[in-house]
């Protein structure tokens, strides 16, 4: 009985243990392998589409150029999209002198945008409508497209004339003899000639340039620069697997890229949001992680890099393989902190009506974010291509959407991360974030572009800052450069100090016509002809005065360092170019810096960097090797003298510009200092003299 009892007890215990064990394992967290997380960002696939030509026929059948109006316009509002700035470039604001005046833009400009506004860099001027003399014609629309059309994305300017008539459809009899839309100034003959739009074709909006990751700007450039506007958009797809170029230069469609139903294989076209690479093609060197910095691509210097030395790259500067960055080992931080965090352009410069991104409202009203945004379908039909942006000098371009972008303070709570800063709010109000977060640009950028005297290529004398040597020479040492500072208005209407690069132009101005002298007119004045290889031949009197002993005029000699040189070219402009009243001018143009941002560790934190007698805020940055003295200086469209002459060349003097700021430790009011020190020294002298007399006289002491 006892044995039975014991056995029973053991059995019960064993069963209990088994049950407890089962229960434990049943409740224990599963140790089954978790599905590996896909780190690749999800991407919404664009539906497969057929590529259609201008007649709506599938290009695979017609072999005609792709019409984005027909192809993309099936679902997206093509006219709405191409009415935006990337396509119009200011064309929409043409013929509006009041608008120009309101923005302080000289009336000789045609528009306030890139299409029609003078810039010291190219020194070309779009002709006004209704001009009567070829002497008033510098550049026609086709001229503009030949030079600028590679970046400016088709549609708008490239498709319609100033009266919104499609190019190639206007009868010859209806065309004005000097209509800028139908004429160009021939580069070889210098004559104003008609442009054959039927031969060149026109370019519709190039959606591929921004929405196909493998977009080929180089191939597009070849087409645009040679006047083959018709096939420019097809050229953008060369290399994508859809379009190939034959040896004879013609383009054909690769059949294997298309499905049987005529649509393009989605993985080949890969339509997507604009990538960093898409924007970089035109705007400035940008990459997620790139140790070979190539700011010259497809024969062009990327614009943002050219103007301010912008390198938007997540790689550390110290990792740079090419080019030769001096002291790079000391720079163990990324070229741009935002790039290193994976931010791409559209994170801040988004389509304002994209419901997936923040919609910033009028800050003067109470609504900062509108939760009930646009319907996704409505957005996809009409995505606003006037992208969110800031408003920084020079105010040359888009007149709309100022301060709509995601700015620094939309992501960063500046108040919290700047607790170390005395008078924090005052600093944050008076200084743009970039002022401390771009302490130095570690690359080169334009310094001066002088069209006032031309090299024997017939073009300007260009100098760079931040580099010792040629920008294409891999051995050139890149020292980088320090910014200079100017006041600008921010989104709250406050004037703040912001870092910039300065590009100085030395140009002739036609005082009677109230416009800059055209480059072809300066060519007429300086040169007597051209060699068979295209080299321009200087007039003997020019060589005599400007040339060195060997009779050549090299970059160091091509400057106005003597009044006689100015007088000579002035007389030549009068004699050969018929300009009665030419005036040499210095124009200083600031280009604001927004990229190449460093993080907190590298940002300026030491007070005396700004608050001292040698404050960086008044850094006398060198403007050029030489600049003529006693000539008018223009800054921001106004005659303001911002140049002081040092022994080694002209320097920027921003004292007048920053006169609205009192920078403790740097600013001085002369009479306050004078009066103050008179009181102090007067007291000391009184004490010394009085004390000495008391000792000498031996009176009451």
């Amino acid at each position: 009985m006892k044995v039975f009892r014991l056995t029973g007890l053991l059995a019960v215990l064993t069963l209990s243990l088994l049950a407890a064990g089962l229960l434990f394992f049943a409740q224990a967290p599963t140790t089954a392998p978790v599905a590996k997380q896909d780190t690749k960002p999800l991407k919404i696939s664009h539906p497969t589409i057929p590529l259609l030509d201008a007649k709506g026929v599938n290009v695979i059948k017609s072999n005609a150029p792709i019409s984005t109006r027909k192809t993309c316009g099936r679902c997206h509002d093509y006219d709405f999209i191409t009415d935006s700035f990337h396509f119009q470039q200011g064309r929409a604001e043409r013929g509006n002198p009041e608008l120009l005046k309101a923005h302080g833009i000289s009336p000789f400009n045609v528009t306030p945008g890139m299409y029609g506004k003078y810039s010291v860099i190219p020194n070309r001027q779009l002709a006004h409508l209704g001009i009567k003399s070829p002497d008033d014609f510098d550049m026609g629309t086709a001229d503009w497209l030949l030079h600028c059309g590679v970046c400016h994305t088709g549609g708008g300017i490239s498709e319609f004339d100033s009266e919104n008539r499609k190019y190639g459809t206007v009868p010859e009899k209806d065309i004005d003899p000097l209509d800028r839309d139908y004429h160009v100034r021939d580069a070889k003959t210098g004559k104003v000639v008609a442009w054959d739009w039927k031969k060149s074709g026109y370019t519709e909006g190039d959606c591929f340039l921004c929405h196909v990751p493998k977009a080929n700007r180089g191939a597009r450039r070849e087409r645009v620069a040679t006047g083959d506007f018709r096939w420019a958009n097809n050229a953008t797809l060369v290399g994508s697997g859809i379009v190939k170029e034959l040896e004879d230069g013609s383009l054909y469609y690769v059949k294997s890229a298309f499905n049987k139903d005529g649509t393009v294989k989605p993985d080949v076209l890969d339509l997507s949001d604009p990538t960093l690479g898409n924007c970089a093609q035109c705007h400035g060197f940008s990459a997620h992680y790139e140790t070979n910095i190539q700011p010259i691509q497809n024969k062009d210097i990327l614009r943002g890099t050219e103007k301010v030395g912008w390198i938007y790259d997540g790689a550390k500067i110290s990792d740079t393989v090419h080019p030769n960055i001096v002291d790079k080992d000391k720079m163990d931080y990324p070229w741009d902190v935002h790039a290193s965090k994976g931010l791409i352009c559209i994170d801040c410069h988004f389509a304002p009506n994209n419901p997936g991104r923040k919609q910033q409202m009028d800050l003067k009203k109470n609504l900062r974010y509108k939760p009930k945004g646009e319907d996704i379908a409505a957005y996809l039909r009409r995505p606003d291509h006037n992208f969110a942006r800031g408003s920084i000098p020079p105010e040359t371009v888009n007149m709309t959407r100022h301060f709509t972008m995601r700015g620094c303070e939309d992501c960063h709570v500046a108040d919290k991360i700047h607790k170390f800063l005395p008078y924090r709010r005052q600093h944050l109000k008076k200084l743009a974030c970039q002022t401390c977060h771009i302490p130095k640009v570690n690359f080169w950028a334009y310094r001066s572009v002088d069209w006032g005297f031309l090299m024997n290529t017939g073009t300007s004398r260009i100098t760079f800052r931040g580099i010792d040597g040629d920008i294409v020479d891999p051995d050139s040492k890149i020292f980088g450069y320090y910014p200079t500072y100017i006041p600008t208005k921010n989104e709250h209407g406050d004037t703040e100090i912001r870092p910039t690069n300065l590009i100085t132009g030395i140009d002739w101005f036609d005082k009677d016509k109230g416009r800059p002298v055209f480059t072809w007119q300066v060519q007429q004045a300086l040169f007597e002809g051209r060699e068979s290889d295209g080299t321009w031949i200087y007039r003997p009197e020019v060589v005599k005065l400007f040339g060195d002993e060997d009779g050549f005029i090299d970059i160091p000699q091509a400057v106005y360092d003597k009044p006689e040189k100015v007088a000579l070219v002035k007389s030549l402009l009068q004699k050969y170019a018929g300009i009665k009243n030419p005036e040499l001018r210095i124009t200083v143009v600031p280009w604001a810096m927004s990229h190449s941002i460093v993080g907190g560790k590298q940002a300026i934190k030491e007070c005396t960097v700004c608050h001292s007698s040698n404050s960086i805020l008044h850094r006398p940055i060198k403007l050029n090797d030489v600049a003529p003295k006693n000539v008018p200086v223009y800054y921001g469209g106004k005659r303001i003298n911002v140049v002081s002459y040092a022994s080694d060349g002209p320097r920027f003097n921003n004292k007048a510009l920053l006169s609205g700021f009192y920078i403790i430790g740097n600013s001085r009011v002369f009479w306050i200092e004078l009066l103050g020190w008179l009181f102090v020294l007067g007291s000391l002298i009184f004490v010394l003299v009085h004390g000495a007399l008391r000792l000498i006289v031996g009176g009451k002491s």
Binding site: C607, S613, V669, E673, F679, K700
Partner: protein
């Protein structure tokens, strides 16, 4: 030997020396900011800025306590000039400093516990306590409060007006301190006045004569 007579109470002396210390530190930190990068008092401009603000507020507090004390202890009248202080009194005192002192003449207004300040001192302190200190306090507080009261700050012209005005005041303070320290040597002996402000006692008028 006649015992020393009490001249300055403990409260007065503490008030005076705290005020002096605060003013000297304010001048030093102020000029370290004005001439930033050349010298520093509290380890750098940031330290100088922070200490300048705190010391400034301490000075205000000390000034208020001083006013409270002088009124409640009925000592404010020492600082109130009479009409003749502006005219004959001041002229006499100036004449003494410019001429009489070299001839060993008797001080025209010997001080005692009931009349602690001569006419020139009364006028100087009227300017200092009635004008210069309030002026420095107002301009300094407005600069400190620029982000707290931006409208008021902007109305008076912002930093462009306030900072130079405050700087001019600082120069005047420095000039005052130089002369003030020097004039402490014009007592019965070179350190008599200084000793009085430290110990609180001075030689009686009868002993000085």
């Amino acid at each position: 030997m006649t015992p020393l007579e009490p001249m300055y109470s403990l409260h007065e002396r503490i008030w005076h020396w705290l005020q002096a210390l605060a003013m000297i530190l304010l001048i030093l930190t102020g000029f370290s900011m004005h001439y930033a990068g050349r010298f520093t008092i509290f380890g750098g401009m940031k330290g100088d800025v922070l200490w300048h603000s705190w010391i400034g507020f301490f000075l205000i507090l000390n000034a208020l306590l001083g006013i409270f004390y002088h009124f409640t202890a009925d000592k404010y009248h020492h600082y109130i000039p009479r009409m003749d202080d502006f005219t004959t009194g001041a002229i006499k005192q100036i004449k003494f400093y410019l001429f009489g002192i070299f001839k060993g003449e008797k001080h025209p207004m010997e001080t005692d516990p009931r009349k602690k300040l001569n006419s020139l001192q009364k006028l100087t302190y009227l300017g200092l306590l009635g004008v210069l200190i309030p002026f420095q306090i107002v301009t300094g507080v407005m600069m400190w409060g620029a982000t707290r009261w931006p409208e008021a700050f902007a109305k008076v012209g912002g930093m462009k007006v306030l900072a130079p005005a405050h700087t001019l005041g600082a120069y005047l303070f420095l000039a005052f301190i130089i002369v003030h320290v020097y004039l402490t040597t014009t007592g019965n002996t070179p350190f008599a006045l200084l000793r009085a402000m430290i110990t609180g006692y001075q030689t009686p008028k009868s002993e000085r004569e």
